[in-house]
């Protein structure tokens, strides 16, 4: 689904990532961990084509990302649900419209009952008319997850989805993600919350990757 081969990425002068290789198999559940600034967000951005690798090859759904034109990148992103660290909502639109935004931009009809089902799943069915700035951190993250899955994507990427949440809310979000994985979705979560990873291990089979010294490593039993 998503394949990175010997990928390097540099901002300006220095390398942030180098010799990174990863194959996200269908239905797999990965965690990506590492200290702040290690390049977790950059890694995720490479996975949905927001950033282009400096060297190496990124393949999204068997297509080299460098061969995709702008429209094809847009179409590819519809197959990848992303939960951004800062959620990335349109603050002037109510929650219902924000969650349905991927349908809107795909010129697909926004069926309210479908969006409502998703909002009920994430426990936000009472807040359909609320504007994003009025939502709490946990509500925003759950809304972002609902938006990420509304197009029925094959892959879900989440960047520090529990960064601003209390433990109870983090577990709730993790439960939603494991449910999606059981439905066959491929999941990759970037987080520095080791407790969350340990909790996930008890729920589902996961692989934990760590970015250390610019390289991607498979994390061991120390977690």
């Amino acid at each position: 689904m998503i394949n990175l081969e010997n990928v390097a990425f540099s901002y300006g002068g220095g390398n942030l990532l180098s010799e990174v290789s990863l194959r996200l198999a269908p239905g797999s559940f990965h965690f990506l961990t590492g200290p702040s600034g290690a390049g977790k967000s950059t890694f995720l951005k490479l996975c949905y084509g927001e950033l282009a690798a400096t060297t190496g090859r990124v393949t999204l759904f068997d297509r080299d990302v460098t061969s995709l034109n702008r429209d094809e990148i847009a179409l590819t992103r519809r197959r990848i649900g992303v939960v951004h660290q800062d959620c990335q909502f349109l603050d002037h639109l109510p929650l219902l419209a924000n969650v349905g935004l991927p349908l809107t931009v795909a010129d697909k009809p926004l069926v309210q009952s479908d969006v409502m089902d998703l909002l009920t799943w994430v426990g936000l069915d009472k807040l359909t008319g609320a504007l994003p700035p009025s939502l709490s951190g946990g509500e925003r993250q759950r809304a972002a997850l609902a938006r990420a899955v509304i197009m029925g994507p094959d892959v879900i990427l989440a960047d520090e989805p529990t960064g601003n949440l209390d433990w109870e809310m983090s577990l709730r979000l993790l439960t939603l993600l494991t449910e999606l994985n059981r439905m066959g979705k491929t999941i990759l979560i970037a987080t520095h919350d080791l407790n969350l990873i340990r909790q996930a291990k008890s729920l589902v089979a996961i692989r934990v990757l760590r970015i250390s010294k610019r390289r991607l490593q498979l994390a061991g039993a120390d977690l």
Binding site: E50, L51, D71, A74, V82, L101, V105, D107
Partner: protein, 295 residues
């Protein structure tokens, strides 16, 4: 060809927030441009009409001016008429009477001029036949038969007048083009400003899978409709102003003839759709160019 309607369809859900009061600037500028364009159009049409009028009035006509001592004026006039009557290519010739000559001088000296007291030349009006006449030989014959007669075929008047009218018309068309260009530039700047102001919105739309055409559509539609509405307003005011100008018959001068006649009144109605087209092309080009620079 379905590109235009597709771009004018509002994307669902109002994904781009309302622009606020600055939106009126586009409408107001389009209105001002259209107002000016109406005048430029009126000027081009009036100068074209003037050129035609001068050409038709002076073409195929000439004047013989006879300056002779009082006792010889009638003799020389008769001689001139005789010469003209026997000149091939001249359809008709007649001497203007005193009242006609007075009318010609009235705009400069007023209606109470005592013509009989002034040593004015006698004018003979010539209408040229379709085959034309030989001006050089006519001048020679007139010199022989009536020494005080001078043939004026209006050439030295007609050429600069026609040239001036043609230049005036070209200037007016240039004005219309410049107005269109200025409007396109203004809308391009406004589009870029709107895109910059909505950078975060555009980023989110791209992240959730929006194509550039979808994003551009929201901006193109807004600017096209604003330009069309503003141009319609400016055109209406411009046409009203032209309509309220003094009638041409009242004074007969060029400035009072600045206006539209008959079907010419339909011409300014093309301005709003043209402004919309200019806005559509300018906005789409600017939006697509800007969006291509984003990841």
């Amino acid at each position: 060809m379905n590109l235009l309607p597709a771009f004018l369809t509002e994307p669902q859900g109002g994904v781009v927030p309302p622009s606020g009061p600055t939106a009126w600037l586009t409408t107001a500028t389009a209105a001002a441009m259209a107002f000016l364009a109406v005048f430029a159009l009126a000027l081009s049409i009036a100068s074209g009409r003037l050129a035609d009028r001068w050409a038709s009035a002076l073409d195929r006509s000439a004047t013989v001016r006879i300056s002779a001592p009082e006792g010889q004026m009638d003799l020389q006039t008769a001689a001139v008429l005789e010469v003209l009557a026997t000149t091939p290519g001249i359809a008709s010739a007649r001497a203007l009477d005193q009242s006609e000559q007075q009318k010609l001088l009235e705009p400069w000296f007023g209606p109470d001029l005592p013509l009989g007291d002034l040593p004015l030349p006698q004018l003979v009006e010539i209408t040229e036949g379709p085959e034309g006449y030989d001006r050089q030989s006519l001048r020679l014959r007139l010199t022989g038969e009536a020494p005080g007669a001078v043939l004026d075929d209006h050439t030295r008047w007609r050429a600069p007048l026609a040239d001036a009218a043609a230049r005036l018309r070209a200037l007016a068309y240039t004005c219309v083009l410049l107005i269109g260009g200025a409007m396109a530039a203004m809308i391009t700047l406004a589009t870029r400003a709107a895109l910059a102001a909505n950078a975060q919105v555009i980023k989110v739309l791209r992240l959730v899978g929006a194509k550039d055409t979808f994003i551009a559509r929201a901006f193109v539609r807004r600017f096209t409709l604003r330009a069309a509405a503003g141009a319609a307003l400016g055109t209406a005011f411009g046409m009203e102003a032209i309509y309220l100008l003094p009638a041409q018959d009242a004074a007969g001068g060029f400035l009072t003839g600045l206006g539209f006649q008959g079907a010419g009144w339909l011409l300014p109605l093309l301005l709003p759709p043209l402004a919309a087209l200019v806005a559509f092309i300018a906005t789409r080009t600017a939006a697509m160019a800007n969006l291509r620079r984003l990841p």
